[in-house]
């Protein structure tokens, strides 16, 4: 209630509340910080402190980028595919893996937070699963789901659902008692309480969980694409890393990072649309 000084900053950031002047300045500042990082990178490579095999110059990465989007004789893009084909292949896998996690995570979290026995039995397994290194059990997924996309999507799903589940549990536990009691004395059944009170109340937490999950999924993409990962941006990074083509590996890392930042921006925008009442929860 009110527009107090203390949260003024935050409200400014809401896209539709931000005056154009601010947006312009934000953009300029970000560009500047990008410039500084690039400049530092260029400087580090120009000084030749380290071999270009470890930290290639921006120009080398740029050349790799050009290669990745062009055809030259027998070479078509990199590893036989154009950069966007690699990216799109990975993106599809991530969207599917995280997509399933977005369905399963909240449901599981809800079940864990709502039913004592489910929690006692299942929670340790979730805790167990969420700590397992993908590189340690990927072969099992391959034998179960094949070397094609299914096993990769499973791996991404397994990486993505635990943060969503945990966030949901935290969100559910945070729901105000008054709200639950109020609904029950309006006649809500247990399921109705979950649908009308618990779920919407936990929504901001679930959305945060989804943001974290997307980040995790991206960090897992290389592991998921170590087997039959071409086309795939992670598979490309892996294959070229093994060949010590650091320029391509860095190109991949940059593309992955930028894509992830863009997805996160979309998610944050979605959050503003879905839970405008977040600060009044």
């Amino acid at each position: 209630m009110s527009t107090p000084v203390a949260v003024a900053i935050e409200e400014d950031e809401q896209a539709n509340a931000m005056p154009t002047r601010h947006r312009g300045r934000t953009f300029a500042l970000r560009l500047l910080s990008l410039g500084v990082v690039f400049g530092l990178w260029w400087l580090l490579t120009a000084l030749k402190i380290w071999s270009p095999l470890i930290l290639p110059a921006p120009s080398a990465v740029w050349r790799a980028f050009v290669q990745s989007v062009t055809t030259d004789g027998p070479r078509r893009g990199l590893a036989g595919y154009y950069l966007w084909e690699h990216l799109w292949a990975s993106l599809q896998r991530i969207l599917k893996g995280v997509g399933y996690a977005i369905i399963v995570g909240p449901l599981l979290g809800l079940a864990l937070a709502s039913f004592r026995w489910v929690r006692i039995v299942v929670e340790p397994w979730v805790g167990f699963l969420r700590a397992l290194p993908p590189l340690g059990y990927f072969s099992l997924l391959i034998i179960w789901f094949g070397i094609d996309d299914t096993s990769k999507i499973w791996l991404l799903f397994l990486a993505a659902f635990p943060p969503i589940t945990i966030a949901t549990i935290v969100g559910v536990e945070r729901v105000r008692t008054d709200r639950l009691n109020g609904a029950r004395s309006l006649g809500a059944s247990r399921l109705q309480v979950i649908r009308h009170i618990t779920l919407p109340s936990a929504l901001p937490d679930v959305l945060t969980g989804i943001r974290v999950a997307f980040g995790f999924a991206w960090t897992t993409i290389v592991a998921a694409e170590t087997a039959n990962g071409i086309p795939g941006i992670g598979g490309l990074a892996w294959a070229t890393k093994k060949e010590n083509r650091t320029d391509v590996a860095i190109l991949c890392v940059i593309v992955i990072g930028i894509t992830a930042v863009l997805i996160d921006a979309v998610l944050q925008r979605l959050e503003h649309r879905l839970v405008p009442w977040k600060h009044h929860a």
Binding site: M1, R176, T177, D178, R179, N181, G182, A183, R184, S185, L186, G187, A188, S189, Q192, H196, I197, P200, L203, V275, P276, W277, H280, A281
Partner: protein
């Protein structure tokens, strides 16, 4: 739960309902910092259709008692029966107006908040809206029906809560200082509405209030609780509940003043 609700709806208009029985009721909060004996022992019988006013010093256990009646808190001792059913969980037959308005849902508009109970019971859209708008008009918030609740003032939020519970037509109405955050005029208006509701529907009501005048003017029976642990130290019928005069006019009645003075002295001793 739903059966009780339906039964209440049928019985409601005729003024009948179920008697409320408290037996050796007592509650102690146990926390890491030790135990707080908040309320009891209390023995009490409330006939269907009574309007109970409950007074008592701050921290004497009024809210605790109300939460036990609502089914939110399990008493550490004793029992509560509504008719021949023990009260052990919240249900639609007992509506609650909370002391704070944090029970409202910020993702719903004011109208959607008021519609909640009807929606839960499966009422159709048109019926919900008609009923909600009627209750919103009753509490004077028609203009704010489409606002989210967090854009309302404290008193307005309190009124949304009242409308929400009234729309649900419970057999027993439990109210924890519902008019505490309201200005005199709005308050008087809502007191009138409440009294009208009570007279026409014959619902059983329990009203926690800090205003002796309000307690005496509205309640058909006035109870005063002792300081913690709260016990009933005063329990008398009040003759003013059936009067038609608004509170401001009653203030001129010496009988009314005399009654208030008696209640006040019960609180102070």
């Amino acid at each position: 739960m739903n059966e009780a609700n339906d039964a209440a709806k049928v019985a409601g208009a005729s003024g009948s309902g179920h008697p409320l029985r408290l037996r050796a009721l007592s509650h102690t909060y146990r926390t890491e910092r030790g135990a707080t004996h908040a309320v009891g022992p209390i023995d009490l019988e409330v006939a269907p259709g009574e309007f109970l006013s409950l007074l008592g010093p701050s921290g004497c256990g009024k809210t605790t008692l109300l939460q036990i009646l609502a089914g939110f808190v399990h008493p550490s001792d004793g029992s509560v029966m509504l008719g021949d059913q023990p009260v052990s969980a919240p249900a639609a037959d007992r509506g609650v107006v909370f002391q704070q308005s944090s029970a409202l849902l910020p993702w719903r508009s004011v109208r959607q908040n008021v519609e909640l109970g009807l929606q839960l019971a499966g009422a159709n859209k048109a019926a919900r809206r008609t009923r909600a708008d009627a209750e919103l008009a009753r509490v004077g918030l028609t203009d704010f029906a489409d606002r989210p609740v967090y854009e309302l003032s404290g008193g307005m939020q309190q009124r949304v809560q009242i409308a929400r519970v009234l729309a649900n037509d419970p057999e027993l109405l439990l109210m924890d200082e519902p008019f505490g955050a309201l200005d005199a005029m709005t308050r008087e208006h809502l007191q009138g509405e409440l009294r009208h509701l009570w007279r026409t529907t014959g619902r059983t009501m329990v009203l926690i209030t800090h205003s002796v005048e309000e307690a005496v003017a509205l309640g058909s029976r006035v109870l005063v609780m002792s300081p913690r642990p709260g016990r009933i130290v005063f329990d008398q019928p009040s003759p003013f509940a059936n009067s038609d005069r608004p509170l401001s006019v009653m203030l001129d009645d010496p009988d009314f003043h005399e009654e208030c003075r008696r209640v006040r002295s019960a609180i102070e001793h």
